[in-house]
Amino acid sequence: MEIKEQKHGAVLVLRPEGPLVREDGEALKTRALEAIRRNFGRVVIDGSSVSYVDSGGLEALLDLNEELATGGRCLKLCALTETVREVLDLTELAPQFDLYEDPNIAVRSFV
C-alpha cells in the first residue's frame, strides 16, 4: 500500500491508497505513529483513496486512536469513501473518530 504525505501548514495529511487490509493496516499504523510522535499528533488520515477496510485495518485505526487518546487527542479521518463509511457505521466505530468531509476542514480543526 502506498501512503502519500502532504503538509497543510503544521498538519500532516496521510493518504493511504488502496484497500486497508491485513498488513496494510500495520504499515499505516507504523507510519502514522511515527508522524504523530514527531508532530504532536497533528495528523489527519485522508480516506479518499481507501476502497475498503477489513478488521485488520479497523484494528490499526483503533490502535492509532488509542495512542492519540493518551494525549487527549482523537484520530481525525476525512473524505471517507462510501464503503469505508458504511463499515464504520455498521461496526458502530464511527463515534470513536473525528470525521470530516474533506482534508481542508479537518486541517482547519487544528486552529
Binding site: 501548514g9 503544521a10 498538519v11 488502496g18 484497500p19 504523530i36 510522535r37 514527531r38 508532530n39 504532536f40 499528533g41 497533528r42 479518499s48 483513496s49 476502497s51 475498503y52 477489513d54 478488521s55 479497523l58 484494528e59 483503533l62 488509542e66 487518546a69 493518551t70 494525549g71 487527549g72 487527542r73 473524505a79 469513501t81 462510501e82 464503503t83 463499515v87 455498521l90 461496526t91 458502530e92 466505530l93 470513536q96 486541517v107 487544528f110 486552529v111
Partner: protein, 605 residues
C-alpha cells in the same frame, strides 16, 4: 480511486454486443471463404477436364489427319478440322506449315495456303503446347507427319473459363445457405440476449471485484436481468452479510479490549487537548497529563521522574522558575519553537503559580499553536497581497486623474488616453474584488451553487466565439475539439463559465504569439473531462505545486509584463471542487501546460 468519481460500471450490453458482433462476423467470413473455395475447386476441375478432352481430340485428329493428308485429301481434312472445331467448342483449331502458313482452320476464312506444296520441311520445335489462346487457355500443339512431303503443326486450345449455369447455381446455393444460417444465428441471438445480459452484468461485476471494487452497490446487478442476476445478488448479500457480521464481532471485541476504567479528575485532564504540568518549588514535575507527554515527546513516567529543567525547553523552565521564586504573582507566557526540522511545531507555555500555605506550585498549560502561527502568517501575507493588488490599479487611476487635472481637460487626446486607463484599472479592481469575494465566500462555506441544466456544447461554442478574435489578433491557433453528443451537465452555469473563462484566458495570456491553445472535451457516463492545452511559457515543477494558492504568481521574469490577480486559478479549483470534481495541472517550462478539470455529471452540491 475515489468511488465518488469512479465511472459507473458498464452493464448488460458490454459483452453481449461484442460477442454477438464477433459471431456474426466469423459466420460471414466462413460463408464467404466457403463460396470462394468451392468456386475455385469447380474452376480448376473444369479446366482440367477440358484440357483432357482437348488432348483426346488432338490425338484423334492427329491420326485421322495424317491418314487424309497421306491420301492427299486436303478438302476432307479441312472439313474434319472445321467439324472438330465446331462440335468440341474449341477456341483454336488450326494446322500450320513449318513456315507458319495456315493450311486448315476451324474458321475457313483464316486459311492462308490454298494448296499444299509438293514438299515442305520438318518442324523444328517440339510439338507441345506453347503460348496462350485469345481466351486465356493454353494452346497445345501436335505434329502431323505426311510421309515423303513433310510435317505440319496441329494447334488446339479449349474454350474460355467455365460459364456453365451449374457454377452460378452452386454459388447462389452457397449464398442462400449462408444467409439462412446468418438469419438463424440472429434469431438465436435475440432469444439468448435476455439471458446473456444477466451473465454479462455478472461478468462485469466479477471483473470489477478483481479490479478492487468492493462497494456492494457497485457490484449488485439489476434483478430484472433474470434468475442468474437474482442469484448473483443473493450470493453478494450472503457474502457481505457474513463479512459484516465478522467485522461487527471483531470491532466489538476491539472496543471492549480498549475500554479503560479510568475515571475522575486525572481522566478528565487526560482528555484535554492541551498539556498540563504541576511543577513544585524544587522544579520537579509532580504530575503530567497525556497531552503534555505527547508535546514534550517523552513518556509521563519520564516526565514525572525528571526535573523541569531537564525535560522542558530552557526558556520555559526559566519562566516557571521565575514564577515560583518571584515575590509577586507573575503569570509568564513563553512560546517555543520546538522543531529543529520544522516538523514538531510551536508550543506556548503558560505558567500559573499556585500558592498554598508555605508551598508554591506552578500549573503549566502547554498549547500547540503551530497551526495558529501558520494561519496567522498566512492571514498577514494575504492582507499584504490584497493591499498590494489594490494599490497598483488605484495608483494608476490617481496618476491618470492628476494628468487630466493638469491638462485642465483641454487636450482631448490626453483626456481620452487617461479615461481609457481609468476604465481599464477600474475594471481590474472590480475583477479582483469580485474574485476575492468569491474566494472568501467559498472559504466561509457560504457560497451556494445554483445547479441547473447546462448545455456544455453551447457554452463552449460561445466561449470559442468570444476568444477567437483575441486569439486571431495574436496569431494563436485556438481549437475546440468536442466529443460528439456531449451530455447536458447539472452544474452552476455562471460559476462554470467563470472557471472556463479563467482557464482559457490564462492559456491565451501565457501563450506567445503564433502558439496553439487547444480545448478538448470528453465525457463518459459519470463525468466530463475538460482539458485546456497550451504551448505557452509553462510552469516549473515547484510553481505547479502552488499555482492554485491564493495570490500565488510564479517567480518568472516573463510574468512581469502580464497582469493577473493570482486568484483566478484558486477560484477555478474551488468552484470545480464545490461541484464534486477536481482540477489538475501538468506542465513543462517553455513547452506549455495542460489544465484538466473533471466534473461529475451531477454537481455534488
Amino acid at each position: 480511486m475515489d468511488l465518488r468519481t469512479r465511472p459507473m460500471l458498464l452493464r448488460e450490453e458490454s459483452i453481449i454486443a461484442t460477442w454477438g458482433l464477433a459471431l456474426a462476423a466469423i459466420l460471414l467470413l466462413a460463408i464467404g471463404a466457403s463460396a470462394w473455395w468451392a468456386g475455385r475447386a469447380y474452376r480448376v476441375s473444369s479446366l482440367t477436364a477440358r484440357e483432357n478432352h482437348v488432348d483426346a481430340v488432338g490425338g484423334l485428329l492427329q491420326q485421322s489427319g495424317e491418314m487424309l493428308l497421306a491420301s492427299d485429301d486436303l478438302s476432307g481434312f479441312r472439313r474434319l478440322v472445321s467439324e472438330v472445331h465446331r462440335t468440341n467448342d474449341l477456341a483454336v483449331c488450326r494446322v500450320r506449315l513449318p513456315d507458319g502458313g495456315i493450311v486448315a482452320d476451324g474458321d475457313p476464312s483464316r486459311i492462308e495456303v490454298a494448296r499444299l506444296p509438293e514438299q515442305w520441311g520438318r518442324l523444328t520445335e517440339a510439338a507441345h503446347e506453347a503460348g496462350a489462346g485469345a481466351s486465356g487457355s493454353r494452346v497445345r500443339s501436335y505434329r502431323l507427319r505426311v510421309p515423303g512431303r513433310g510435317e505440319l503443326r496441329l494447334e488446339l486450345a479449349g474454350g474460355g473459363p467455365p460459364s456453365h449455369p451449374a457454377y452460378l447455381v452452386m454459388v447462389t446455393g452457397i449464398g442462400f445457405i449462408g444467409a439462412m444460417a446468418l438469419a438463424g444465428v440472429l434469431v438465436m441471438y435475440r432469444r439468448l440476449r435476455a439471458r446473456l445480459k444477466g451473465l454479462g452484468a455478472i461478468r462485469d461485476a466479477l471483473l470489477a471485484w478483481e479490479g478492487g471494487e468492493t462497494a456492494r452497490a457497485a457490484l449488485t446487478v439489476s434483478p430484472a436481468l433474470g434468475a442468474e442476476a437474482s442469484a448473483w445478488n443473493a450470493l453478494l448479500e450472503a457474502l457481505f452479510g457474513a463479512r459484516e457480521s465478522v467485522l461487527k464481532e471483531h470491532a466489538a471485541e476491539l472496543l471492549e479490549s480498549k475500554s479503560t476504567q479510568e475515571t475522575g479528575l486525572a481522566a478528565a485532564f487526560d482528555a484535554l487537548w492541551d498539556g498540563i504540568l504541576f511543577v513544585n518549588d524544587n522544579m520537579e514535575i509532580e504530575w503530567a497529563n497525556g497531552a503534555a507527554a505527547v508535546m514534550l515527546q517523552c513518556s509521563r513516567e519520564d516526565l514525572e521522574a525528571g526535573g523541569a529543567r531537564d525535560r522542558l525547553p530552557a526558556s520555559a523552565a526559566e519562566a516557571i522558575e521565575g514564577a515560583l521564586t518571584s515575590a509577586s504573582v507573575t503569570r509568564p507566557t513563553v512560546e517555543v519553537d520546538m522543531g529543529g526540522d520544522g516538523d514538531s511545531g510551536v508550543l506556548r507555555f503558560s505558567v500559573r503559580p499556585i500558592r498554598r500555605d508555605d508551598r508554591t506550585q506552578a500549573l503549566v498549560v502547554i498549547e500547540d499553536i503551530s497551526q495558529q502561527r501558520i494561519a496567522g502568517d498566512a492571514q498577514r501575507a494575504f492582507l499584504d497581497q490584497v493591499a498590494h493588488e489594490l494599490r497598483t490599479p488605484l495608483t494608476n487611476i490617481r496618476l491618470s486623474v492628476d494628468m487630466v487635472i493638469e491638462s485642465e481637460g483641454t487636450d482631448a487626446a490626453v483626456l481620452a488616453r487617461n479615461l481609457d486607463v481609468i476604465n481599464a484599472e477600474a475594471r481590474r479592481l472590480e475583477g479582483i474584488v469580485g474574485d476575492m469575494l468569491s474566494v472568501a465566500e467559498i472559504e466561509a462555506g457560504s457560497l451556494q451553487l445554483r445547479v441547473d441544466d447546462v448545455d456544455l456544447v453551447a457554452l463552449l461554442r460561445n466561449l470559442e466565439r468570444e476568444y477567437q478574435t483575441q486569439a486571431a489578433e495574436r496569431e494563436i491557433s485556438l481549437q475546440f475539439n468536442l466529443a460528439p453528443k456531449l451530455p447536458t451537465l447539472q452544474a452552476d452555469r455562471e460559476k462554470l463559465t467563470l472557471v472556463l473563462h479563467n482557464l482559457l484566458g490564462n492559456a491565451l495570456k501565457y501563450t506567445t504569439n503564433g502558439g496553439t491553445v487547444h480545448v478538448v472535451v470528453n465525457a463518459d457516463q459519470a463525468q466530463v473531462v475538460i482539458e485546456v492545452r497550451d504551448t505557452g511559457i509553462g510552469i516549473s515543477e515547484e510553481d505547479a505545486d502552488r499555482i492554485f494558492d491564493r495570490f500565488y504568481r510564479a517567480n518568472d521574469e516573463r510574468l512581469s509584463s502580464i497582469t493577473g490577480s493570482g486568484l483566478g486559478l484558486t477560484l477555478a479549483r474551488d468552484v470545480i471542487r464545490l461541484h464534486g470534481g477536481d482540477i489538475t495541472v501538468e506542465s513543462a517550462l517553455n513547452e506549455g501546460s495542460v489544465f484538466t478539470a473533471t466534473l461529475p455529471m451531477r454537481a455534488a452540491a
